[in-house]
């Protein structure tokens, strides 16, 4: 008797669970189709392009397997591959920590109450709106500098020529002037790159419960203590996400040298080589991201909900 009872009970709970999980599959079903059609299939064909020779036919194309010749070419013959990879890597290593620190500081400032906070926030999200398109490369003079006469670039707009003159007058050593101008020229770039990160940090700071600050105020903590003991731990999951986002963003930016090379090869219809290069690059980025993720996630603090 009890056996039968147990059986029916099991069956019922199982069916409820299964029903829920089936609904889960139902909800993500559109994405599964999209993933297969618009991601997995292209990815598989890229792999097959990179190890074949493409013969273009009247309708469509034909693949002929030639092995890993393109990969050997990338590493053994092409001098650009390793050079550009190290270049993008070092750009990323320099940019990412600064972006994270700057955007965290800005988010902490924007999180405080002050007059005109709404206006300031509105302005700080402008890069999110403007910076993802072609307009930013026009503003930075990337397009202009390739064609404009020297000295008439609009990218002068983003440089601190005045400051440089003042420092020269003061008789500061060249090295110091160079460092100062380089960093201050970089401020623009960094601030425009950190729009999304500021957003992420601000969102995370908003979720910190006020009771934590109240408790720390009773204990007599200063703002400085609050920053290190409350904000940093509570925001740390978001630091991880922002870090990964910045790394990927820096590696896959359209203005990145390696990306430019791949795009150039693609438009020149040397698809086999560009597929091989993009796969190499992508595996390199992925390994790096995974390593960073593994290391940083050790320091991340998750509050128990």
């Amino acid at each position: 008797m009890s056996k039968i009872y147990k059986k029916t009970k099991d069956k019922r709970t199982l069916s409820y669970e299964r029903k829920k999980s089936l609904y889960g599959y139902g909800f993500i079903f559109p994405w599964i189709i999209g993933f297969i059609l618009f991601f997995l299939r292209p990815l598989i064909s890229i792999v097959s392009f990179s190890v074949s020779k493409i013969n273009y036919l009247d309708i469509g194309y034909d693949l002929e397997y030639i092995g890993i010749a393109q990969y050997l070419r990338a590493f053994l013959e092409d001098p650009d591959t390793l050079r550009m990879m190290t270049q993008s890597f070092s750009d990323m290593i320099i940019d990412t920590p600064v972006i994270i620190i700057v955007s965290l500081c800005v988010a902490v400032i924007l999180n405080k109450k002050f007059i005109g906070r709404t206006v300031a926030r509105t302005i700080f999200f402008v890069p999110v709106i403007v910076a993802s398109g072609i307009v930013i490369s026009i503003l930075k003079g990337d397009i202009m500098s390739s064609t404009m006469l020297a000295g008439q670039k609009s990218s002068v707009l983003l440089q601190v020529s005045g400051l440089r003159g003042i420092m020269m007058e003061m008789g500061l050593p060249d090295q110091v002037i160079k460092i100062i101008t380089d960093t201050s020229n970089g401020i623009f770039d960094l601030l425009w790159k950190s729009g999304i990160q500021i957003l992420l940090f601000l969102a995370a700071l908003q979720t910190i419960s006020p009771s934590l600050y109240e408790a720390s105020a009773i204990e007599g903590a200063t703002e400085w203590d609050n920053f290190w003991k409350i904000m940093i731990p509570m925001v740390s999951p978001m630091i991880l996400i922002a870090l990964v986002y910045s790394i990927v963003d820096s590696f896959t930016d359209y203005n990145n040298l390696f990306m430019r090379k791949i795009t150039g090869l693609t438009t020149n219809l040397s698809i086999e080589y560009s597929s091989a290069l993009s796969l190499i690059y992508f595996v390199f980025v992925m390994i790096f991201v995974i390593v960073v993720y593994k290391i940083v996630s050790r320091f991340v603090f998750y509050s128990v909900d």
Binding site: Y23, F27, P30, F35, F38, I46, G133, S154, L191, L199
Partner: protein, 318 residues
């Protein structure tokens, strides 16, 4: 004793005042850096080209002109392109937001086998740069065969049916419908985080009231998540609007404003028969940039109240 207290009070006040002054300076400085290019754009777009090097003009030109804008509007075929871009970005982002909200809800609120692996794959799509998959996507759209239905005639010894989707808006809409549009991984992620943050009791309550999962989603969850919807819509609208990589690949004629702006340079050269006036060039490029940035900026300004509110209230991406 009173004196000591007063001094203490005073020093605290001085500290507070200096603190807020220095904070104000930092904020105003940073804001200036961010607004500067926009102001520059506006200032350049409305000034006659002869006033670019005029030392007496810094921000406000001595005479306003609409010639630059009018000239660029006709060069970029702005009216036609604007309509087309608006069509693409509004519909694609609406479709993407709808599909991503459904998928994000599925990942956040249901337990099923392989969920974590599948979500890992969502994150994986963020890491893969679009340059990697664009060529196969292009080829796929050229001879598109949805769900292999076109292969059915092959079974009867006939030619397969393929549709060429290039140059049609389906190249943008189809991925958006299936939650695989531009940066869709990020959108799914944002929705998942948002739905994870909603209290579990909502679901239980609606289940007690006899709602199935679909009804719960539509009746309870969607009305609660307007802030997430607005945020993701704003993001994806801007990404679609500014996109020139996908659209440059899939539309041969290049009917979007971003593409028109990127080809504006060569058009300016063609108009002046190969030689050009750098001053004319600067004002025209800035006017073109203003025309491209303008509409999303207006959308942002209209929505920004909800946008910043949504960040303040729930911390959508937390």
């Amino acid at each position: 004793m009173i004196l000591e207290n007063n001094v203490k009070h005073l020093s605290k006040k001085i500290y507070k005042v200096t603190f807020s002054i220095s904070r104000a300076i930092i904020i105003i400085g940073l804001c200036f850096i961010l607004v500067y290019p926009l102001l520059y754009m506006i200032s350049m777009a409305f000034r006659p080209e002869s006033q670019i090097l005029d030392p007496s003009v810094i921000w406000i030109p001595r005479s306003l002109t609409f010639d630059n804008l009018i000239n660029v509007v006709s060069l970029m075929e702005y009216g036609k392109n604007l309509k087309n871009t608006a069509l693409i970005s509004v519909f694609s982002s609406v479709l993407l937001v709808l599909s991503c909200s459904v998928v994000g809800y599925g990942f956040a609120r249901f337990k099923f086998k392989g969920r974590d692996i599948l979500f890992g794959l969502v994150l994986f799509t963020i890491i893969v740069p679009p340059q990697t998959t664009i060529i196969p996507l292009f080829l796929g759209f050229r001879s598109f065969d949805f769900a292999f239905l076109g292969k059915i005639p092959v079974l009867f010894g006939k030619e397969p049916v393929m549709t060429n989707l290039l140059n049609t808006l389906w190249t943008m809409y189809l991925p958006a419908i299936f939650a695989s549009g531009i940066r869709s991984g990020l959108c799914i992620y944002i929705f998942r985080q948002f739905y994870k943050g909603l209290p579990k009791e909502l679901e239980d309550a609606s289940a007690v009231d006899g709602c199935g999962p679909v009804k719960t989603f539509l009746r309870v969850m969607v009305p609660l998540s307007s802030s997430a919807f607005i945020t993701v819509f704003l993001f994806s609208f801007v990404w679609y609007w500014n996109d020139y990589y996908y659209s440059g690949m899939f539309f041969i004629n290049g009917n979007t404003v971003s593409l028109a702006l990127s080809s504006l340079q060569s058009k300016l050269l063609a108009v002046n028969e190969g030689s050009y006036d750098p001053y004319r060039y600067i004002v025209s490029m800035q006017a073109g940039s203003l025309l491209v940035v303008g509409p999303p900026l207006i959308v942002y300004i209209v929505f920004q109240r909800y946008f910043t509110q949504s960040i303040e209230k729930v911390g959508i991406v937390g």
